[in-house]
């Protein structure tokens, strides 16, 4: 099974894959392509990946969420060219109760952003193209644990962010 997909993502399929009679809660997250970035009008996005490592890292993240919350989790991330509004990442997390389902889902998206080697290039309405880099303003203060899902967006920029 592959976490990276070249074709449009299908959230309903992910939901079906994690649903089970004992799991009364399914939480989902879908990240879509935004039409603007830092004041510029975006017309499409292009995702590329270090595929073998991205697959391994997604597998680890999903396994961590499953064991930590007794949840079942499905994750897919697009690669290639995406138009505005298309789903770039889709996650479904199923657990016996909603608290665990939400927590597992949040954990997976934050860890994907922090650990999975994927890059995006924006095509702007003015004809220019630019690699997207995480904004310094959105990064947490040094010393906070990036795995804490309450922190919000965390993207890795340098050696210090991974703390390996």
């Amino acid at each position: 099974m592959s976490f990276l997909r070249d074709e449009p993502l299908d959230l309903s399929r992910l939901i079906v894959s994690v649903s089970a009679p004992e799991r009364g809660a399914v939480a989902c997250f879908v990240g879509t392509v935004r039409d603007h970035h830092e004041g510029k009008s975006v017309i499409r996005l292009e995702y590329s990946a270090y595929r073998p490592m991205a697959e391994v890292e997604c597998d680890r993240i999903v396994a961590e969420a499953r064991s930590r919350w007794d949840a079942d989790v499905a994750l897919e991330h697009r690669t290639g060219v995406l138009e505005i509004g298309e789903a770039a990442v889709a996650i479904a997390a199923a657990a016996p109760h909603r608290g665990a389902a939400f927590a597992a889902c949040r954990y997976v998206i934050e860890e994907v952003k922090r650990r999975v080697p994927i890059w995006k290039r924006e095509h702007y309405a003015d004809g220019t193209i630019g690699w997207v880099e995480p904004s310094q303003a959105r990064r947490p203060p040094v010393g906070q644990t990036a795995g804490d899902a309450s922190l919000g967006p965390v993207d890795s920029t340098s050696q210090d962010d991974w703390a390996v």
Binding site: Y50, K113, W119, K120, S156, S158, Q159, V164
Partner: protein
């Protein structure tokens, strides 16, 4: 010790996104002194044309696992130098 007796190791380095563009290729073969670390590979990369775009401490992976700059590298290892991640 003469230069010829110094052993070297040949290493393949994968580059992505902005870094691949700056250095002109998505895979480079480098020869570094042995024993080598990730830091010595990064230092050599930064001295190449376009390499100034690399930070001193970029994200790196060895054989698909996140790695520190003091990690040893050997011939046959898959070294990857990763620009700031932007998935999701």
């Amino acid at each position: 010790m003469t230069t010829s007796s110094q052993s070297t190791v040949t290493i393949r380095v994968l580059l992505f996104a902005r870094y691949a563009e700056a250095l002109g290729d998505n895979a480079l073969v480098l020869t570094v002194s042995s024993p080598a670390t990730l830091a010595s590979v990064i230092k050599l990369l930064r001295s190449r044309p376009g390499g100034e775009i690399l930070p001193e401490r970029p994200l790196c992976a060895v054989n698909l696992v996140q790695a520190r700059l003091d990690s040893p590298v050997e011939a046959g290892d898959e070294i990857a130098v990763l620009p700031p991640l932007a998935g999701g």
